[in-house]
Symmetry: C2
Subunit: 281 residues, 2 copies
Amino acid sequence: MRRSERLIRITKYLLDRPNSTVSLAELADGTGAAKSSVSEDVAMIRDVLAQEELGRVHTIAGAGGGVRFQVRVPTSLRERFEQRIIDQLADPARILPGGFLYMSDVLGDPDVLDFAGRLLAERFSDSPVNVVVTVETKGIPIAVATAHYLHVPVVVVRREHRVTDGAAVSVHYVSGSTRRIQTMSVSRRAMPTAARALIVDDFMRAGATVQTVKRLLAEFDAEVLGTAVFMATLEPETKLVDDYHALFSVGPLEEGRDVLIVPGGRQHLGDGTNRQGGEAE
Amino acid sequence: MRRSERLIRITKYLLDRPNSTVSLAELADGTGAAKSSVSEDVAMIRDVLAQEELGRVHTIAGAGGGVRFQVRVPTSLRERFEQRIIDQLADPARILPGGFLYMSDVLGDPDVLDFAGRLLAERFSDSPVNVVVTVETKGIPIAVATAHYLHVPVVVVRREHRVTDGAAVSVHYVSGSTRRIQTMSVSRRAMPTAARALIVDDFMRAGATVQTVKRLLAEFDAEVLGTAVFMATLEPETKLVDDYHALFSVGPLEEGRDVLIVPGGRQHLGDGTNRQGGEAE
């Protein structure tokens, strides 16, 4: 196999396995080349991706070592994505009774899901997250996209305990919007114990949902390393969850009034690595 | 930019945009090369991916033309995936009361979702599908993965009409398992009219769910081009839906008995393109 062919093969192999450790032996086997040649190929791929903020290729030393590709989103593409979402969502016709924002169409768009997944995976790429947890229903697509790029399982918390979930752990909570006692439940066998979880959801207002998911995860001795949402509200400013990362924040939603949407939202406490600032504060 | 660097860039650009038409001008702009050079690069990428069944690169002629990458799964990887799933799921401990198979853990695994998405996208890559429709909750992750590789939106049918879905169209049906009248509802604004839909779900027994989704989609003048499920049951052999594609089929589920799982399941009528045969018939 010629070098140019090898570069195509190895680029595809790495991109198909985001956040997974791939050994040089595996790459050498797949291309019929010496490990030293493969190593030079990987170095070139790393440099090309780094130049344009297209991704990071890490080298992991040691016996279980190899290389790992992590997604990055170039600033120019992120800004174009943010502007597109703001243009699409900041439309008074999207305000629903009760002060909700209609987003179902946008949250099914393949480019939006892919971008949201890449941005959240990039944001948490340095966290040792080993599971993404979400609550049915609207947060699931974003959670799946994020889990794909982090290469971790996704666990879906249900509003009801269904027979197909097998044995489950449940907690009760009082819904912020209806003031009724409700249930959240998660399949015991799907949720690993002592996991390092990233909670992903589509929308956060006061944070009662995420707070309840945290209580549920505590039953599995999970450590919650972060909370990420597609959209958070600017008000109430003080939420039940302190540390969260939002791709967007939205102002008051009242029928007939303009919708204000800004990129970003409250960051992890004491964490200065995010470029999106704390616009929601 | 050297040719080897260009090949890495273009490979990534195409893989990041599955089933999307990318113009040669776009690739030339992004790499600073002439269209003729970019065209040669694309030809090499096409040949390398074709050799190993890693993907197809189509050339679309004309004014709106360009190139389009479509996923393919090499036979060896598909067979390894099938064996892995069979080994994991054919476990009597997975049989739940009522004759259900516990799959929640497997349906959250990032490799399973990615493979299922690639296999279903490959299967329907020649259909002019422009939307993937699924029913909450368990089918959503597979639907999202499939929609990603087909590059079409995913629409989620709900069991209840929620305020955040805005105006919705609903139908009633009698649940096969509970014999109760239930509702299915889909957001009007999320579902395009006169769409060409692929229905995706995790599990199909008699097919009542898919049949109801079809009734719901008829309200939007949608044409259903296919139904794809992760797992179908071998019995009843005659389902309410004639034409479906299953990645796997499972035999009778009775506590204490062995579980039989085979790859594949009933194909589209009159369609001979699938390699997985009609093992479920």
